[in-house]
Amino acid sequence: MSRGTKIPRYRYLTDEQCRLLHEGTCGLLEQVGIDVAHQGAARLLLDAGANERAGRVCIPRHMVDAAIAGTAKRIELAAKDPESTVVLDPDNGPLVHFGTGGQALTVLEYVAGAFDKRPARTEDLAAILRLCENLEHVDFITRPVEPDVAEHEMDLVKTRVFMENTTRHMNLANLVRVENLPAILDMVGDRGRVSFISCLLVSPLHMVDETTEKFMRIVEAGVPVAVSSCCQAGTTAPLSETGAIMQVNAEVLSAIVLGNMVRPGAKLLHRGLPITADLYGDGSPRWCQPDSIRRLACMADLTCYYGIPCCGTAGVSDEPVPSAQTIAEKALGITAELAAGAQFVNSALGLLDRIMTVCPEQYVIDNTIISLAKKHLTAGNRYDLVECAESVVRDSLAAFGAPFDDDDAVETAARAAYVVSAREDISSKSIDTQIETIGKAVCTGQSSTAFMRAARKGLRAGLLYNGSRLESAIDLERLHGAYEMHRNQRSDVCAE
């Protein structure tokens, strides 16, 4: 039995658009290629038929298509509690699962009616995992914060804290030191209970050395791993939705090609995050604005088109503390990703401040948001995504005592409408333009400035949403009370 929720998929892209995006992705990999820093990985790819051009590894289409065909399509992620097994099977269902995530550096603590920020510690990791045991809509755990121990101890301390505090599937996220992998697997026992995330790609189109080594060892061990690439469209990828999706997809697929050469039929999740950069401000990532939400959903759609298990991301608020705006951002993001059919949606609970901060109370809010998103999307045989998203925002705010006035309704409707509206034509011509832009940028050595210069026109054409904030106050006492109630439930569930 698998956890997860079956939702009729909302299609952000047509099959024809997916086909064109795939063509463009293959064009990028063939013509521009990947800068592969890991010599062993480069050799593997070249020996299998890739070409070296100007120091870059250009991967022909037949290698990409073979990897897509050969990679594992169904991945079962076990858990200590058999009821918490997660089955990722995009062609059958798919079931959507939500989990935690992030590598937050700080924790918000509720003290005397306000939130104080402090560095995250090992005991926070344990406390979050125990809290999540009591949250119905947490289907799996991705590491929310790292233990505050010496680097060489982090892997094993993290694994121990997971083993002692969760009955859900354990996605440890990063492997800090490759030599610790055997000890982690020994400690876990059943390898099916653990998985990783590997960020071996850095945009634009660069495969790093050390993380690639870790990725190859994890794949070799037969352990599932999400291949992650996260651009900031406008600074490390084109601002264009088409260009950013193609580039991030090319990055992830290059690792899927590599992974299937290391171990045919490798258990790999596609985790492409083509989010935007805040070109209205300081260039920071925009995780939860309508433009990024739409792009994440489109990427989930494309991944489903391939039939590759999808590790999505939703609900990372850009806000620093729990607020009405935080709830509105997360409610829209979670609803959109749930409808997209991403099967393993991590970072969906607790995260604030662009993944830099977690807040225990926020986990409770996000659990409620997920519950409401499921309720509204499964209320009938069909749904209107914009109306559902508006309802999830409104009901989530009401659950935590935040008023929702006419201005909030207008802003929420505008945000939801943005998420379902295409702003660019996807055509062979636009795809060729994006390949040219990316190719020029990676050849300059100053790709960020090249992408920013090229972003000016798109910026004026509305490729970054520009709206207003929801300013109403939430009832912090009620929120803290709800948190305390969940925290104090079933605290002995993890005892062996």
Binding site: G281, G283, Q446, T449, K457
Partner: protein, 229 residues
């Protein structure tokens, strides 16, 4: 075009961030028309003094700064304008030398050891070039020894260090310690920046300034120059 027309056209193109014929400029419709690089070359060929061109480009950048502060321009607009000036200054370089005009100063820039992030570093470099500094970019993941060697070789008056990770920002202190050991610390002003850094951290490791962003870096350098004058 006469001298004044060249200078005004160069300034107009700086303000519109139109680098060259291939660039689409502020509104995306300037591709195919001469940009700053072509105009500067043409002006030089027609006897316009490099010093005057540099001054008019600076005036253009002041206009751009005003538009940015008022919200009319966004970061990419500011950056595009700075890139125009940076590229044009390289064309002007030999002519400025002949005319005896010196650059504002020499600046070495690097992302520290273990850190591969380059966005912030590249923005700072573009802005500083646009403001008239000679900048040597050492790239990303650069260790302390290579940074200090570059400072020594170039005789730079300024060093910029960037880091985006809490685990790598500690290497900034390694650079400062090595500068001290090599007897270079009082010869170079050290500016640091990057998401996890702060003014407190700059003070703690003994850096001369913490810059929140590229614009602050430009202002900090202007302050240093004003104090030195």
């Amino acid at each position: 075009m006469d001298k004044e027309q060249y200078l005004e056209e160069i300034k107009r193109n700086v303000v519109l961030g139109h680098a060259d014929k291939e660039d689409e400029g502020f509104d995306g419709d300037m591709e195919g028309t001469p940009g700053v690089s072509e105009l500067v070359q043409e002006a030089l060929d027609n006897g316009v003094e490099a010093k005057l061109i540099l001054e008019r480009m600076s005036s253009g950048m002041e206009t751009v700064g005003g538009k940015f502060e008022s919200g009319e321009y966004l970061i990419p607009d500011m950056l595009a304008a700075a890139e125009c000036v940076g590229a044009a200054t390289e064309i002007l370089e030999p002519h400025l030398l002949k005319e005896g005009v010196e650059r504002k100063g020499r600046f070495v820039m690097a992302t520290v050891e273990g850190d591969l992030h380059d966005i912030g570093k590249n923005i700072v470099i573009t802005m500083l070039k646009g403001d008239g500094y000679e900048v040597r970019d050492l790239g990303v993941g650069v260790d302390a020894a290579d940074i200090v060697t570059a400072v020594k070789e170039s005789g730079a008056q300024y060093l910029g260090l960037s880091a985006l990770l809490t685990t790598t920002m500690v290497h900034m202190k390694d650079v400062l310690d090595l500068l001290e050991k090599e007897g270079l610390r009082d010869k170079v002003k050290v500016l640091i920046g990057g998401a996890p850094t702060s003014e407190e951290f700059a003070k703690k490791i003994g850096a001369d300034a913490h810059c929140r962003d590229a614009f602050e870096a430009v202002h900090v350098l202007r302050d240093f120059s004003a104090k030195a004058a």
